[in-house]
Assembly symmetry: D2
Homo-oligomer: 355 residues x 4
């Protein structure tokens, strides 16, 4: 941490800051410039918030030097975290992973129809909401536990791993009985009771970014989970809040390569929520893989026109099939492969760029 | 809701949209313009999300006409909601209310010291954190229930009403036993399990705005509480996320008069979190009252230099005393009064604008 | 400037940075922490952009210590700049100033009608656009020089000072012949050729903030003008870009007290553009004065329903008359007075807070 | 345009709005809903700003139906605009185009060194600044006309087309004598005098997006140029302002596929300014092409450590060489090719994803 003193800070003020720094257990390092005096604070600053020092008489500002997260950082663990699901799918390894499925589980029929179609395309991770956080209390809130049972049946029958959202600490045990990956939604990224609860159980966690979270806040939310003992956290970008009313969200792909520098945790991209428009999902899926994402999570519904939620951003299985060849190219651009068929050699020529 | 069709939409597409609107139980109203065909949807659109129609073949965009919240709207209730606390303080009435106190309850001594000083200034509502949501898992998280017991002792001894935060649905019953007002923090504004839980109990709720929430999302969060049967909700602006690194937040006072047009719920302003800097709290407190806020919630600590959290934005009791006269002027600008002493006639001349 | 090295930077890298700092004419100051090595750069860093050092091998980040503007800073000039117009109005002095008038000069009749009404309220500075920057090339672009002649006639007849916009370096001489204050619009805040041109002439300049400018960029734009030799610059806040579609802009009053700490230049607030809605202009005008603004610039039109631009945010003269008493209270909250009648003692009781 | 009336609007108010709509030359279409009355406005609404109607008694809001730009829209011209430069390079055609070069022209030697290296990689369009808009008046402002002469010499010697910025209307003729493409910088996106000037000459224009411009404002800025008679406009995304201090800008790739739906103009992506960090330029270049950009404009400097501006975001020629194979993959993902060598078949295997 660096403490910058105001121009013309009095010697007694400087002395006071030095004393305070020592009282906190740090070693101060004084540096007198031409216009400002600066005090370096030597020691592990993570336990102190910079704000706690800005009140001191004579202080102009306090600049942190270290990132405030530790377990999530590349400094702490250089090698990428690879998460292996029960069905063998690896997230964060050499292959990029495609997770797909409906926004909400609406019925057994609807879920099996789309799951089977996805399995036919090689998809091995199914997403689907049982508990749905909705902006309006009057919107469809999900089927709840019956939806979890349907997902478990897909899991048992088709061998797909299941990603589904958990909304409160009380539901963690229940959802964990059915799901392979517990999703913490964007609205709950700083719901600390929930983060602590998913950190105390063993299932991998998909942590969505809040639409106004900085990368640092996001990594600190991951740190809440890691600090409870669960090392299997993946980060999911799903669009930030921006000023253009043309799009529901601004899908922020810059964080994909940025996070790769800052953290060892896998990074997943959600172009469906990220853009909110079906006609942008294809191009932005390609862009996400080309930027280096470890996987995509995409909304697919057999009949988007009848979806109870988020139909506007859902692809049909046939859309995804047409998109796949171009995704192989995009993964190759980042030096990766995709496990899902069809192979790029057969279908790429005719279809690339068409969806 | 208005459905705008694409230029050159085919008759069959138009027919399809009309049929779909009727199937949802609405009455469509066709209007053929020179460049676009538009379909008005007649009926209570609140049960349908506009997105559910944008997937239809031929549709360019869907524009909602009605606000999606109902119980929170001025259309539903024209008269302002006035909330009366056990100690007689009224929020949303003719007088503006000053809530003040430390960010965190750190000890019995610290809390009584500041509470007594505040009481001497006429403050009748004490804020203080027992459970603290902190961005970092390594920061001080609050004393928990012992802090609630200290607050209850202040309540019993000094007759002050207590505002304190509740972080999870499990804690609602506990916090409700000690507090007059349950605060839902900015990070939990869309923690729906928590909103439902505070909606099912009888204490008034102070609902802070998430730093990236639109006014509509904020009012829908209030609607979650109201829809559970608790009508005593007040809205608290505490700064939005913006792009200038100079300030921690951008305190958005525009929502104060805007909310007065949209809703009957009281609006409180928090200039301490809103700006994050002690030297801006005074001017922005005045501005908030002049803009028409029903009250302020301000961080005050007897010794900000020793505060375990948010010292940088905390006033001393003496700062607040010096600020009060100018707040009387600011309330008068909005046609309101303040209950807290000292009276503007005695102290205003010398002190206005000095803090 | 502080240079933070990466964890594990090699001695040769550290040596390279030290050598580079010395080559730039600065004195480096090495400080070895537990996890990071930090180099303080001693000397006037304003000539160097931090980015120019981040490329150096081993560097993690570079943190500036000094604000990059100089002439605009409080460090350079502690006393507030007071600008005196030809008709004796002082901006930045003890009294706050009310500037008002139509968005565009549309005709001699329209301009005189509103100017006379404003003069009757005590307003001594008239705003009015001759050259109008419009988002669409198809919208009304202003009357041009004939409008300037009308404004000059108001000036001669009624003794009001004139504020009007200049859009390009070629127009500076022309507009300067007619106007008391040259306005640089928000879209041109970083139009450096224009800033240089208004900096090379003698008229005071009203520099509007770009809707995405940081305070630092804004002060650097002022610095462009100051550096050319024109010390009479006032800063005008007119709303920033934010994410809520409910309002055209987010009027950012936090910069009012913040700028008072950073700069000696007067700060004006424009609640008309800042909010974009007539029904918010009153409350936010009060808030701006309570926050400490040196003046307001407000759109007033005798017949907003017939205005060729910005009718939606224009007050009528009668609206302004009703607003004035509450503005006196708001100015008093900030320890200031207003020159404009009516006096607060007569009209305040009945009208405060009603507009 | 759709006019939504307030709940309970009086018959006289509705009548007034209908009369006003007719007076503007439009045909109104009344639609009475259960909670709101809505009036459709039939006719070409582009000449009227929605704000001009919101003042009318009884009006709640006005919703535009048509995009306000015309010449730039896909409705106006369905086929993509293809721009052919003097040296035969086509922008907007089947091949994506790579523009590269230093931020500033610093000397003849520096410019030729990097230009020759780029030519060796197949690059046929050189970027380089002669006039540099800089946030600080104390930073290097470019060499001016001597830099243009150096660029012209590169053009004559190496056959590369030249892209360079023009900062004011007075400089358009001068820069047009030397350059193939005139760049309008982000800060000048709404400098209408400049837009008009580049619209009145024949050179193609590269119009950068202002960091807070909506897509609609950006297309309206293009419309200013098109409306003057110059049809050769390309749009360049270079990062928007967002809230995370971690990155200088938020490179917004969503606009790439979005603009492809809205306009026929070519879309170029600038990952150097878009991210501001050299280590993100590679991944985000790949992402931009995969998203469907018609080209990239990338800062390349032979010696970034000695660059007078923007060294932190400049690649070396060797970095670009290493990046090229992966760009071929990324272009293929979007169904495009690149003209620049090396071919993907030879170099892709070893290098993809490594930069």
């Amino acid at each position: 941490m660096i403490i910058v003193l105001r121009a013309g800070a009095a010697p007694a003020e400087i002395e006071g800051v030095l004393a305070h720094v020592r009282a906190l257990g740090f070693r101060p390092h004084l540096s007198q410039g031409e216009e400002r005096t600066v005090i370096g604070v030597i020691g592990d600053e993570r336990g102190v918030e910079p704000d706690e020092l800005t009140w001191l008489p004579g202080v102009e500002k306090v600049v942190p030097i270290l990132a405030p997260y530790k377990l999530a950082s590349r400094d702490f663990q250089a090698a990428p975290t690879v998460i292996t699901l029960d069905n063998g799918v690896q997230i964060g390894g050499p292959a990029v992973v495609l997770m797909a499925g409906p926004c909400s589980v609406e019925s057994r029929t609807q879920t099996f129809e789309v799951a089977e179609a996805l399995q036919g395309l090689g998809v091995r991770v199914l997403r689907g909401g049982a508990f749905k956080p909705r902006t309006s209390p009057y919107a469809f809130q999900g089927l709840g536990e019956p939806a979890l049972q349907i997902l478990a049946e897909v899991r048992a029958t088709l061998g797909m791993a299941i990603v589904t959202e958990v909304m409160g600490p009380d539901e963690v045990e229940l959802v964990g009985r059915y799901a392979d990956v517990l999703q913490v939604g964007a609205r709950n990224m700083q719901n600390y009771r929930l983060l602590e609860a998913v950190g105390r159980q063993a299932r991998p966690v998909l942590l969505k970014r809040s639409p106004s979270a900085t990368t640092e806040e996001w990594l600190l939310a991951a740190e809440y989970i890691l600090a409870q003992g669960n090392p299997q956290v993946m980060l999911c970008e799903r669009g930030i809040r921006s000023y253009d009313p043309q799009l529901r969200n601004t899908f922020d792909l810059n964080v994909v390569p940025l996070l790769k520098l800052l953290t060892h945790l896998p990074v997943i991209a959600d172009p469906s929520h990220g853009t909110g428009r079906r006609d942008l999902v294809g191009p932005m899926s390609r862009a996400a893989l080309a930027a280096g994402a470890d996987g995509l999570i995409v909304e697919v519904h057999a009949h988007p026109e009848a979806a109870l939620s988020d139909g506007a951003q859902s692809l049909r299985p046939s859309d995804l099939a047409a998109l796949l060849p171009s995704l192989h190219h995009a993964a190759a651009a980042a030096g990766r492969q995709m496990a899902e068929s069809p192979s790029p050699t057969t279908a790429a020529q005719s279809n690339a760029g068409q969806v």
